[in-house]
């Protein structure tokens, strides 16, 4: 029987939740990296026991952690488990070193972006928001960072090199931080084309490469954002998350700051599909593993009130690729609930009956083992959840 492993990043550590395919009885391990912010934990599709975690703190900066045994033990890549000192030879534990490329390709000495006061500001590394392991090589992993840029490691997370073509894009000086910082939070690898990748940045928008990350184009046509001077600008949109069903990689779904959008041409053009949602502000969006027109969002009241509307925690599901939405409430609190669900905190498994998972700012992680029809809490009292990923095993 298949198992599932849910990887949860929280404000105060990481947790690993495991169950068999029924997804009813759960084992909880953690906190791993107790006391640290864990923005993201994700497993390699090529080797499910290879996990990568982004560990950070305002005091001590960014640490990359890796597990080779499905989350039982962890180490900083380059420093073998149990080895604390550096023997003679190349320095170890360089895995927390993220340095922007300052070559001519990306602009010397270092490019700038727009700051809150309208002036130009040099890129400053703060943390890794999202880790995306390669679909085919466990040692290759991408990192989306703040200030927005894309890094890649090809040695299991030990050494990181920026793909400078993205930050060096001509629109870079127009990118600006949102309230959460200028973060690259979404990385989607196209399973049908190893050269194609999608990324999203708050607040710049969505970008695509068709040459393995050398060059990038903004793909924001059709987005309309009233909070920027030109609502239809090429960049400047606060895209919160983008999702794709791997079986149909040309179709993308987006939760923008406001508006739920879809593209049927790999991002070249977008149209709004918010339809009858009670509010189209939100952070998460995901796609059913087997039904590419079935999508999920969690509407949030507004950008000024980051909690679910009317005190009700409702996932909304569309079986028509958007526009027509139904609230999913069975098993979810329908009164006095004021939690948020952050952009990387929803995931789907690939069991026959698709499982859907999400985590809240109140520390609950919910599972639906029937594609959203009913829900149950796996855990209720974790620290605020930053990210949720799921692995379908065996």
């Amino acid at each position: 029987m298949s198992n599932v492993r849910v990887l949860v990043g929280t404000r105060k550590g990481a947790f690993v939740l495991t169950a068999d395919g029924k997804r009813e009885k759960w084992d909880v391990s953690g906190p791993h990296f107790a006391g640290w912010e864990i923005y993201h934990v994700k497993g390699s599709p090529a080797d499910p026991n290879r996990l990568y975690a982004s560990q950070s703190s305002g005091w001590f900066g960014q640490i990359i952690q890796r597990s080779d045994d499905g989350g039982k033990t962890w180490h900083q890549p380059g420093t073998p488990p149990g080895e604390a000192t550096a023997p003679a030879g190349p320095p170890k534990a360089v895995s927390n070193k993220f340095v922007y490329d300052a070559s001519a390709e990306s602009g010397k000495p270092l490019t700038t972006h727009q700051w809150y006061d309208g002036t130009q500001h040099p890129w400053e590394f703060k943390r890794v928001w999202h880790l995306e392991p390669s679909l085919s090589d466990p040692d290759t992993v991408y990192a989306g960072v703040e200030d927005a840029a894309l890094f890649r490691s090809t040695d299991g997370g030990q050494n990181w090199k920026e793909l400078p073509g993205l930050r060096g894009h001509g629109t870079g000086p127009k990118w600006q931080p949102g309230a959460g910082g200028m973060c690259l939070h979404t990385i989607i690898l196209d399973p049908s084309d190893p050269q194609r990748m999608f990324i999203a940045i708050s607040a710049a928008g969505t970008f695509r490469t068709d040459d393995g990350g050398k060059t990038w184009k903004p793909i924001n046509r059709g987005l309309r954002s009233q909070y920027i001077p030109d609502p239809n600008a090429e960049v400047g949109h606060c895209v919160h998350h983008v999702a794709m069903n791997p079986k149909r990689p040309g179709v993308l779904f987006m939760q923008k700051h406001w508006d739920v959008m879809r593209s049927d041409d790999a991002g070249d053009n977008w149209k709004e599909v918010s339809g009858n949602l009670p509010t189209d502000f939100g952070f998460v969006i995901d796609v059913h593993a087997h039904e590419p027109e079935t999508i999920y969002v969690v509407p949030i009241k507004s950008d000024g009130e980051h909690f679910v509307p009317d005190g009700k925690l409702r996932v909304f599901r569309s079986r028509t690729g958007g526009n027509e939405w139904e609230p999913l409430t069975k098993g979810l609190p329908q009164r006095d609930c004021y939690v948020n669900v952050l952009r990387d905190a929803m995931a789907v498994d690939s069991l026959d009956k698709c499982g859907v998972y999400f985590g809240t700012s109140g520390g609950q992680v919910y599972v639906s083992a029937d594609a959203g029809d009913s829900w149950a809490p796996i855990v209720r009292d974790l620290p605020a959840v930053l990210s949720v990923e799921v692995q379908t095993l065996g």
């Binding site: 305002g58 005091w59 900066g61 900083q76 604390a84 000192t85 534990a93």
Partner: protein, 98 residues
């Protein structure tokens, strides 16, 4: 032998349970102590000082002999009591957050 006291999270990263000690042959300064510390515990690189600029991370302070040395030059000699191992060099996190 220089004694260094690390905050709990950095002890966890370095996999040590108490004060650490580093050997120095030249002048005893913030820079030389931290260089030696990072050479012995490379997983601490970037956590106390920025990787590139080697500037102290903003929410960390350096104390020794009941004085705040955070704003001293990284190349200024540390107190003799630190150099002799009598007093520790303390890396401490600012009080903040929840």
């Amino acid at each position: 032998m220089i004694r260094v006291i690390l905050p709990p999270h950095l002890r966890t990263l370095a996999r040590v349970s108490s004060d650490v000690e580093v050997e120095l042959t030249g002048p005893v300064t913030q820079r030389s102590v931290l260089d030696a510390l990072e050479a012995r515990y490379p997983m601490l690189r970037g956590t106390i000082r920025d990787h590139v600029t080697l500037q102290r991370r903003p929410f960390l302070r350096f104390f020794a002999c009941e004085e705040d040395l955070s704003h001293e030059s990284p190349d200024a000699p540390l107190p003799e009591a630190v150099a002799s191992g009598k007093e520790p060099f303390i890396v401490i996190g600012a009080i903040a957050g929840g």
